[in-house]
């Protein structure tokens, strides 16, 4: 009898404990949800506000017109083409270098104090304020190397900015590959290069791509470093085309062309006295958010597609 009673009493105690833990669980999940909602709702409110304000300007004309003193006729053509070209240079400069650096650090670099130093620096670089990259670029690219205030300078600057993001992401994706995959490849006689190139990089490509796109999405909204290196405010023509109809079919003149980008155009419109321009600025802001969200969505989709095809 006594043992039964004590077990029952104990059971009640245990039940109370379980209830308490479940309650704590519930409270924490509410706090977590609130924290998540706070961020999401802020972004959502901001986006709705931009869309509501900028709504009258959503038209094809807005994308195909040059800037103008008349707000209703002013458009984003030179800005989005500028953004696109700058992103192209950023992509070409940051991705091969970032992925190569990530692969080297993860697969080839000897584990010693020097690698540790590089590792700490790369991680730190990811947290450096973007204006610092702008100042570096002003000294190094604009004056030091004489690239001037050009698309090349802007693209390389943003390339530097996202390089640490690409490196860190590449390393994390590579680290996620099970060691058994490498061992299996080595076991059938693959060289180190074959293991890295055919297996590790291949399986990590989803994660690497995600990192690249998230980095690019950050770069497209950057204003501070681009202002520092002297982006123009009024430019009503496009840079020379990178493809031409005479051999060798590509030309590089566009790299040295002056430019403007979406955030700069928005910034300029926002500082105008005329309120009609503030509508343009809101429409531009909404566009930048949509482009960023699309890029992030692409990253998620690509990761999903690539993961689905990997069966181990």
């Amino acid at each position: 009898m006594t043992t039964q009673a004590s077990v029952l009493a104990n059971l009640a105690e245990v039940r109370a404990m379980i209830r308490k833990h479940k309650r704590n669980d519930f409270i924490f999940s509410i706090i977590g949800l609130l924290a998540l909602m706070l961020g999401l709702l802020t972004l959502f409110t901001l986006f709705i506000d931009l869309v509501a304000t900028g709504y009258p300007r959503f038209s094809l004309d807005f994308l195909t017109n040059y800037p103008s003193r008349k707000a209703a006729h002013a458009g984003l053509l030179s800005a989005w083409v500028g953004s696109l070209l700058v992103m192209l240079v950023t992509f070409i400069s940051a991705v091969p270098m970032g992925v190569a650096a990530g692969v080297y650090l993860e697969e080839y670099a000897p584990k010693n104090w020097f690698s540790d130093l590089i590792e700490i620096n790369v991680t730190n670089l990811a947290g450096v304020p973007s204006i610092v990259y702008g100042l570096l670029a002003l000294g190094l690219f604009v004056y030091g190397l004489g690239f001037g205030e050009s698309i090349l300078t802007a693209g390389l600057t943003l390339g530097l900015l996202i390089l640490p993001i690409v490196i860190v992401n590449t390393r994390e994706s590579i680290r996620g590959i099970p060691i058994a995959i490498r061992e299996a490849a080595y076991a059938v006689g693959a060289t180190k290069w074959q293991v890295v190139f055919h297996h590790v990089l291949h399986y990590a490509s989803g994660g690497i791509l995600t990192g690249v796109i998230i980095g690019m999405a950050r770069a497209i909204g950057e204003t501070a470093p681009i202002i520092t290196i002297g982006a123009l405010t009024f430019i009503a023509f496009l840079p020379p085309s990178p493809v031409s109809d005479v051999a060798p079919f590509i030309n590089v003149e566009w790299l040295s062309s002056g430019f403007t980008v979406l955030p700069i155009q928005m910034f300029n419109w926002l500082s105008r006295p005329d309120h009609a321009f503030h509508i343009n600025a809101a429409a531009t802001g909404a566009l930048i958010i949509v482009v960023t969200l699309l890029m992030n969505a692409t990253a998620i989709w690509l990761r999903y597609r690539i993961r689905k095809n990997i069966k181990w």
Binding site: L77, T233, S257, S271
Partner: protein, 340 residues
Amino acid sequence: MQSQFVPHQILKAAGVAALVATAFSISHADAAANKNDIIRIDGSSTVYPITEAVAEEFQKAKRIKVTVGISGTGGGFKKFCRGETDISEASRPILAKEMEACKAAGIEFIELPVAYDALTVVINPKNTFIKSFTVEELKKLWEPEAQGTIKTWKQVNPSWPDTPVKLFGAGSDSGTFDYFTEAIVGKAKSSRGDFTASEDDNVLVQGVASDIAATGYFGYAYYEENSSRVKAVPIVAKAGAPGVLPSRETVMNGTYQPLSRPLFIYVSANAAKSNPNVKAFIDFYLANSKELVEEVKYVALPANEYAAVNDHWKSQKVGTGFNGEPEVGVKITDLLKRIK
């Protein structure tokens, strides 16, 4: 697995290629652009709306490319004196040290006034006790000695209430700041530092509109757009004179003193001589500025002053009428006569 990967790469490359192709099908005809074909302009954000309007019309009419940046008057002169731009916009005359930099680089310039602006001192519309500001009162409020000591309206004028003052003004890199301090305190760049400074005049409008204790100053165009949110204060130039509100008329007839200021463009004499595009641009600028200046809400020069500026441009005389200091209240016709 290898084969699964390749289509993605191709897909992606094709996507990028398609995007680029879309962008450039439009610009195809411009393939052979020469860097000298582009007229490069930079400088004051105050003059920017005028130059932007001229550049827009000029490009439509002549198909010559123009770029305009906003680096501020000081930043614009730095680039101009390094030979990076053909034309520099300025909301104050060129300063002595900028003239030295230009001289060292062998760059001569032609000084052309293109419009007037009225620096407007504003208060919150709910502020009813301020009917006008004398220059002395503004000086008391803004001079460097006021920092940390002048905190209430009563300290500025004993007949005003003992309530706090909040100040909003131009950022120290702008020509507006240089001109206001020169006109009010008597020395350019000499101002108290404990005020909210911004290069973006909309921030100043917002600040004054939302605080009953506030006063601030900015260009007339920003006041005109926001005249329901902030109130302009009449300025008394000399003791005993009536207070004058900024307006087109009072700027044109010279009664709004000392805060009406000429706006300038500085043209590189070398570019004007060697580059026919630059010459065509300035011809176009002067021929159309009256109409365009009014459209972007600045005050156009009176006809006789435009004629004088036109003659000055034709004579291609280099140099400044100011001797390297921002001078207040000088007439443009007199100014141009000083340049030999």
